[in-house]
Homo-oligomer: 444 residues x 2
């Protein structure tokens, strides 16, 4: 494959023509494809339909300790679900609070509580002139949405293959006491799909924050969301590592079963130190009488234990794997060697991250849309929706059926090619314009 950068203006123009014809063909197909969000497919949701059967009118809805799950009470979750989610999050049930259906909601509440009441006795953030969060980029748009909503200044930190740039994190966190948090998706990250290395986790656990109320927001949304049986990323468990490092209160760990059972009808949880839990409970006891215990029981009766959950995730993987592989093989086939894009090949999670040439992402997404394919908005993976290089695009392979996905990725690759050519041609023109007058001057 010849790299586009090496092609002459004429070669590029000729190719552009050919690709335009292909694009027109796509437009003629009247496609309606949506790859904008990381939603499980209907086929995946079917995997959990048995969950609708585990409780019926003859069921005993009492949990192990005798509590009637149909009634009020049990603020932090029933024992057996704490055990299940504890195993899922690799922490002791004693370090867990079970919430409602959304971990995002738990993160929101955590920031909101810090704003109004502060963290473990520190000044409430709303009383401070400036509060900042570090944001590894590209990252999850809804994280950035929460911090933006609360007027928290976001600082981009590059996300590398082994995690955020830890030199930068360490430096900033240890010197600036207005930095109160960092958003982390440590495993099969949204959107890169990369996982933090052991060294990265160790360095996180050993941070020496200038702010005593600095916390790591460790959103382990994809903790057991592997694509492969034998090639899985593994993380050092962060709570234990923080404890070992003498930093027991440094981290809030979040997770949910949104992409295990049903998104929107799962259960979410926070795991953290006893001190942090106590701090959180001071809020929680005023916020609600308790979360949905019937749904907690439903989850326990369905999955039974962590082994049941792991087996269940294997079935998800069987559906997701071909889709991820279709995406990367189409990208390989269509784009490798052209020098106009790079992408990740995750071993789990819900996303693949694609980088175009600088300044092309928005145009690629727009061009896809004009032919009936909705991608996640370009820029969405950056705070304030501003990708400084306009190059990152999040690919979400899970939702469309495989046939649609293949079509969508072919269209996507085509759009990348066209937009890249336009970019390269425009660059050449700029060069000509700057060079040409100089030449004519020399001639004169």
């Amino acid at each position: 494959m010849q790299s586009y950068a090496e092609m002459s203006k004429e070669e590029l123009q000729a190719l552009r023509k050919k690709l335009s014809a292909q694009y027109k063909e796509f437009q003629g197909k009247d496609l309606k494809l949506d790859m904008s969000r990381g939603k499980p497919s209907a086929e995946q949701l079917d995997l959990s339909m048995e969950m609708m059967n585990v409780l019926n009118s003859d069921s005993d809805l009492t949990c192990e300790d005798g509590t009637d799950c149909r009634n009020y009470g049990v603020l932090t979750g029933i024992k057996e679900v704490k055990e299940l989610i504890g195993d899922m999050m690799e922490v002791s049930p004693d370090n867990i609070i079970i919430y409602g259906n959304s971990s995002l909601n738990v993160m929101f509440d955590t920031v909101s509580r810090s704003m109004t009441h502060g963290v473990m006795g520190c000044t409430p953030w709303c009383k401070l002139d400036k509060v900042k969060f570090l944001c590894p980029v590209p990252g999850y748009d809804r994280h950035f949405g929460i911090t933006e909503y609360f007027g928290i200044e976001m600082i981009n930190v590059p996300m590398n293959e082994d995690g955020p740039d830890m030199d930068m994190v360490e430096k900033l966190v240890s010197t600036d006491d207005s930095i109160k948090g960092i958003w982390c998706v440590p495993k099969y990250s949204n959107p890169t799909g990369n996982s933090y290395s052991d060294e990265t986790v160790r360095r996180f656990a050993r941070l020496k924050p200038a702010a005593p109320d600095f916390r790591i927001y460790w959103d382990n949304a994809y903790g057991i969301h592997h694509l492969y049986d034998h090639d899985q990323d593994h993380l050092i468990e962060i709570l234990a590592e923080c404890k070992r490092a003498g930093n027991p209160d440094l981290v809030y760990k979040f997770s949910s079963t949104s992409k295990i059972s049903f998104p929107g009808s799962g259960i979410a949880a926070i795991a953290t130190s006893r001190n942090n839990l106590e701090d959180i409970l001071k809020q929680l006891k005023y916020q609600t009488i308790g979360h949905d215990k019937v749904n907690q029981l439903r989850h326990v009766r369905f999955f039974k234990d962590i082994h049941g959950m792991v087996e269940h995730m294997r079935r998800h993987a069987d559906i997701l794997r071909p889709k991820f592989e279709a995406v990367t093989s189409i990208l390989d086939r269509e784009l490798s060697g052209l020098g106009i894009g790079s992408w990740t090949t995750p071993k789990g999670g819900y996303f693949i991250s694609f980088d175009t040439l600088d300044g092309c992402a928005k145009d690629v997404v727009a061009k896809c849309k004009k032919a009936g394919l909705v991608m996640t908005g370009a820029g969405a993976t950056y705070p304030y929706g501003k990708d400084p290089h306009d190059c990152n695009i999040r690919i979400a392979p899970s939702y469309p059926p495989l046939g649609d996905l293949i079509l969508a990725m072919e269209l996507f690759a085509l759009c990348v090619k066209i937009v890249s050519i336009d970019k390269l041609l425009a660059d050449k023109e700029t060069v000509e314009k700057t060079v040409a007058p100089a030449e004519s001057k020399a001639e004169a």
Copy 2:
């Protein structure tokens, strides 16, 4: 019946002896009775067990507009549940947001949002020196808990038979712009069981608050929780009345199915004007991707429509009615005419309010506890847990089986008698002490 106040010291002492013997008997029974919270009984919960059958693995979990309820999305609730809850709350589905399982959580979030972001463009409350709420008393402890948690100053307003003292409410609200809200349980109020009169509702709708961000927190938790078929309280619908009065944005209305289906596993909602909804949505879209739609669907499939819900409430009433009547008939039999207590006789809701002689409530509750009966803590019905007259006790008849309830109320009445006698005797002693020295002086 002779009023205790008219009895002589000797008569009271003799009676005290007799009652003490009865109390000892109760203590010998080793009772474990809990009337502390307004929880439905197991028998009531059984009424909703069919709800566990309406969705099973063969069910189509798509809602009317084609949305797969198992997946992410639909931030404000599915259309058919908005219709059902709209009918329940007597408002248009367009004025509703469906939340998770707890209306208390919605109220908490509403206050929290006002703290951090303000109400419809007004200054966030956390930036103000002083924020106050009016609290009709006796009232619901968890309301007061929320405002206390946020450092909001609470001002007691007497709750009369037809609602809060509206002269006081109007005067305070129209003159003090630091008053930002009032907690209302307008129907079958917690704990008095009284409902607001038409005039009260009309005056609420016509308030002229000094603060543009003043809102009425209209917690209609017991909107359809009648005890009788033909003798029901009826409220003027507050949203419509506010609109008619030219005050469309004045009220947030809250409700949930906690005491219709399952407490903790029901669905909650807010109903308010379009302007307020827009304001709320600015927060909600960052807070979560969506609430539990499967549970929404479950509720709709179970109740079908408001008629189904009303029929269901009739079955609740059949269980609750005998309990309420047992309480009031025991109080009648044991205490009427004695001048040592007064109580309400609600036609719905979950509570009966009891007033002892001044300074007796704490002692009565403590005395009950010593014989194995846990009542709601005295003072709980007042902000900061401080009942200025130490006289109000909330009676929650719903949870215990009828037999236990009868026993509990007999014990309760006995404790009221004993504590009242002690109080009257102590009063007599004080009078003697103050009178006696004066007399001896006169003699000297």
